[in-house]
Symmetry: C2
Subunit: 147 residues, 2 copies
DNA sequence: TGATTTTGATACGATACCGTACTAAATAAT
DNA sequence: ATTATTTAGTACGGTATCGTATCAAAATCA
């Protein structure tokens, strides 16, 4: 790889970092006090993939240490958005189930945030976003696989 | 398994978040103990843009609270990578200057990280990365402006 | 079978980051 | 010129995340 390309790959992660920074801040500001973007992401994941996941599965999915997931789940439990039940298949383990309140919160959060998020259309139309998402997904999968 | 369930614009920030997560973890793992990705980014910025920047300029560039920059700079100062000197133009302010050790560290870090970073080429060639960077930059500027 | 290793989860402590409140200096207003 | 407002930086406290150590339950093995 030519030297001239190198800074480019650094810049890629640099830009991603700043966009994430801005996106998270924007998001968090519009979520109710005490609910983090991580909380929202977990609820989202549980609805998308399906609930009953174990903490460890979540840690793998989000690529964070399992202690972090523990912290998320105690928060979500306190908020009344999930229930932690013993895992019938493995008595060391647990399963995370969404409550009605959790599902409702997630749906409302999406509804509340969507209008603001849709403003991104001003700078990038859906086709382009779809393309961007596809490329990022490819990159994500590679990073995940080749660790 | 694209999350067709999740609105497109949510998926965008979701993917960006995960890629950032993976990228940061990957970087951090290869940096010496006590040096964070943030530290590296600041050194990088100071060499790219040029040193003598004020803390507030850095906060704006990275879109983080100024208290966070304060924290970064005390760390970098302790590491001996920057010097904080009074700003001759404004006695409330400071200027951040790179030390020789700071420059050397940054250069070595880049040299050390480059081979791994180059592997990303397996999944995305420079042209595509350049395109991706341009789009993310456009998105970043919009997010920054329309807050 | 009993002993050893591995695995899922948490307790605990460290730290990175953020928000609020404060000080000092610059700028604006009167 | 005096006062009021804004601005640059930091101290301090809170919290999200992470690493290490620990415990209990599998899984492996001898």
């Amino acid at each position: 790889m030519p030297d001239t390309d190198l800074p480019l790959y650094f810049r890629l992660f640099n830009e991603i970092g700043i966009v994430d920074q801005l996106g998270r801040a924007r998001f968090e500001k519009r979520l109710p006090q005490g609910v983090t973007v991580s909380h929202f992401s977990v609820l989202n994941h549980l609805m998308r993939v399906e609930d009953g996941r174990t903490p460890l599965e979540l840690a793998r999915a989000f690529q964070v240490p399992k202690t972090t997931v523990s912290h998320w789940l105690t928060g979500l439990d306190t908020l009344g958005f999930v229930n932690l039940r013993p895992n019938p298949n493995d008595r060391r383990s647990k399963q995370v189930w969404l409550t009605e309140a959790g599902r409702a919160f997630r749906d409302k959060a999406i509804a509340d945030l969507a209008p603001d998020l849709a403003r991104v259309k001003d700078v990038m139309d859906p086709d382009e976003v779809a393309d961007l998402v596809a490329r990022l997904e490819r990159l994500r999968i590679w990073l995940d696989t080749n660790r």
